[in-house]
């Protein structure tokens, strides 16, 4: 069926709730309203108020409650309305969700999936354009997943919900309705912890995820026209990271560019660049470049386009790398 990413997410939720009656969805406005992006549309009517719960406006309680639900055998899928509002729940995530398995030596676990829309590019209000995925990648025990297409979104979300580890599932708002794709009706899952080489190339590797994947594609096509063959690795699971796929690609191409819309310093690009430097130094024909947002707060809508990388900026970096 042809659908957008947000529809694919909706189908993944419905599909998993049908397959497994332990799966419950909750959060602010996910019930009767169907979520502010309509990601949970129809679930309330279909599964009822005990499996699709509108909660009071309190992110820490929502995530904390998810832990307790998991203890009693549910598979909770809380929604945080925007990534900018996940910080009130940060203590529950870092101090409990991430380490419950470890601190009880496996007696208790937190098989929950925290979904949240993230990233800039839809001219939303202040605090609605955050992309602080790196914060979560630094916390042992968490799995951080970002889809870049409707097909991946459905399969990766299903896999996240089925996973016995806690997952932070980040949904790029800019891609929610950007593109339609044929997505199977039946439930399916895609492997976590596996990056995908979504475009093959010889001269240079771009590592990207989420809303930067289309930017990478555009840049790759433009570069191709200029005679530079670009390979794209879509990370898909940001943590634990599939370093092997990145390294294999860079060992082949000899040049690497990491593309993300988060600020540069201590962004995930740093980890990727460090990894490449550690394990593929001798393959490098040029320094690993990071094309990222600058180290500033996301500007309000009028200027957000100055913030996240665009094709132009990527192409400039590609040229630099090729000329090094």
């Amino acid at each position: 069926m042809i659908m957008t990413m947000v529809q694919a997410i909706n189908r993944a939720l419905a599909g998993e709730m049908e397959r497994d009656d332990r799966v419950v969805v909750f959060g602010e406005d996910v019930g009767r309203d169907g979520g502010v992006f309509r990601a949970t549309d129809g679930l309330f009517d279909k599964f009822g108020p005990e499996r699709v719960m509108d909660t009071p406006l309190a992110e820490s309680a929502a995530v904390g409650a998810a832990i307790g639900m998991a203890a009693l055998g549910l598979r909770p899928v809380p929604e945080i309305q925007f990534m900018g509002f996940i910080y009130p729940a940060f203590n529950q995530i870092v101090s409990h969700v991430a380490r419950l398995r470890n601190r009880t030596r496996g007696r208790f676990t937190a098989p929950l999936t925290i979904r949240t829309p993230y990233g800039a590019g839809i001219k939303a209000l202040e605090h609605h354009s955050e992309s602080t995925e790196a914060l979560f990648c630094h916390i042992p025990g968490l799995t951080v997943v970002v889809p870049s297409s409707p097909y991946d979104a459905k399969g990766l979300l299903a896999a996240s919900i089925r996973s016995d580890d806690p997952v932070i599932f980040l949904e790029p708002t800019r891609l929610y309705r950007a593109e339609k794709q044929d997505v199977p009706e039946a439930p399916y899952d895609l492997p976590l912890r596996q990056a995908a080489v979504i475009r093959e190339g010889r001269d240079l590797t771009i590592v990207a995820w989420g809303a930067m994947v289309p930017v990478a594609h555009e840049a790759a096509s433009a570069a191709e026209a200029g005679g530079v063959s670009v390979e794209i690795v879509d990370l898909r699971t940001l943590s634990p990271m599939d370093r092997e796929t990145i390294l294999a690609s860079v060992r082949k191409t000899g040049r690497a560019l990491v593309l993300h819309e988060a600020p540069k310093t201590c962004g995930l690009g740093a980890e990727i660049a460090a990894t490449i430097g550690e394990s593929a130094l001798l393959s490098l024909k040029a320094p690993v470049m990071r094309v990222t947002a600058p180290d500033i707060t996301v500007p309000l809508p009028k200027n957000e386009d100055l913030y996240y990388p665009n094709t132009d900026r990527v192409l400039r970096a590609v040229r630099k790398l090729m000329e090094y």
């Binding site: 602010e28 009071p56 309190a58 910080y87 001219k123 180290d295 500007p299 200027n303 100055l306």
Partner: protein, 359 residues
């Protein structure tokens, strides 16, 4: 007066009944000038709000949270404040901003998507609009602590919605205020919804005002569509605060007449009948009746007021739209007091990647 209305007994302070008749003994007997000012501010608020919605539909303003229905609460509370008091707003506070003298052009400028609109003019004690729900509350309490320890003799007001009362920051802030006995006035704009979630699912407490009991200070529920009730309660709470009597929680019981924001469709979660019921309690209409009884309102006056409001609105839109867009320098300049060299390099690199006109 506040003490006479016990939220645990379901009592609500109301000065004007639905016909605009003042309850004997409760009318604060404001001067004619002030009464007219209250009305004019409410009219301005409604006009400015309607304009923002129009601009949004035309793509000239971003996602917007309308204030329609909240005029009595916003104008009532702000009119009770004095110029030295501080205000910590939330994101639905148009009438409060206007009444406190915040330029409407700046307010629009912010909602048009430019940080410059959040730069409060010097001399006004208004903190920036806060989007993360309830996070402004502890900040207001910190201001209250400072006001008290510096013996400024001022009060600090903060507003927030019914949904905000569920957040940890609401609780932590009010609890601090009780312990430090700060000069804070907390005004909860209970408009019955947090986006789609109705008040009854936000808390099992019968009123939000009674939450003050948890913090050891008074709470009162007032009719938020009655500008005199909101004014009177805030006035009293401010006086108590300034004189060292500690904080008060005011629940302004009202209704969000519009959608949550321009991205929302309230028809998905509430009935037309409910909305119509509240339309009959329109805060402007009610106050107009009161003014009429006092001989302070007639059609000619109404026309004048509407024209002035429309004037203000059009001028403010023009002013906001005439402002230059933020430059690259601008979006980098305020990250630190002095930018580190790396950040300047990032700025210059970004500029180099941009076409001339956009730098």
């Amino acid at each position: 007066m506040i003490e006479r209305f016990d939220p645990l007994k379901g009592e609500r302070l109301r000065v004007l009944d639905e016909d605009g008749q003042a309850v004997p003994g409760l009318d604060p007997n404001l001067s004619d000038d002030l009464l007219r000012t209250l009305y004019e501010r409410m009219v301005q608020t409604r006009a400015a709000d309607a304009k923002a919605l129009k601009l949004q539909r035309q793509g000239r303003l971003g996602t917007y949270a309308p204030s329609v229905g909240h005029e009595a609460s916003q104008v009532g509370l702000a009119s009770a404040m004095s110029r030295d008091d501080w205000f910590f707003p939330y994101f639905r506070d148009l009438g409060t901003f206007l009444t406190l003298g915040y330029p409407l052009a700046d307010y629009y400028h912010f909602w048009m998507g430019n940080e410059a609109g959040l730069r409060t003019p010097d001399g006004l004690n208004i903190f920036p609009i806060s989007i993360p729900v309830a996070s402004q509350i502890p900040q207001a309490v910190g201001a209250g602590i400072a006001a008290k320890s510096r013996k400024l003799g001022i009060a600090v007001v903060t507003t927030f919605g019914d949904g905000a009362t569920s957040e940890g920051d609401f609780h932590e802030g009010l609890n601090f205020a009780g312990v430090f006995r700060t000069p804070n006035v907390f005004v909860c704009i209970n408009n019955q919804f947090a986006i789609s979630v109705p008040r009854s699912r936000q808390s099992a407490a019968a009123t939000l005002a009674q939450k003050a009991i948890a913090y050891g200070f008074p709470g009162v529920q007032v009719d938020g569509n009655d500008v005199l009730a909101v004014f009177a309660a805030t006035w009293e709470a401010l006086a108590v605060a300034r004189s060292g009597g500690g904080p008060t929680l005011i629940e302004a019981y009202t209704y969000r007449m519009g959608d949550h924001t321009t991205s929302d469709d309230a028809a998905r979660y509430r009935t037309k009948e409910e909305v119509q019921q509240w339309e009959r309690r329109d805060p402007l209409a009610r106050f107009r009746l009161y003014l009429g009884r006092k001989g302070l309102w007639d059609e000619a006056y109404e026309k004048e007021v509407q024209a002035a409001a429309s004037d203000l609105v059009e001028k403010s839109v023009a002013e906001a739209e005439a402002r230059p867009p933020a430059s690259v320098d601008d979006i980098f300049a305020y990250t630190y007091a002095e930018a580190p060299p790396d950040l300047n390099a990032q700025r210059d690199e970004l500029k180099a990647s941009l076409p001339e006109g956009r730098r």
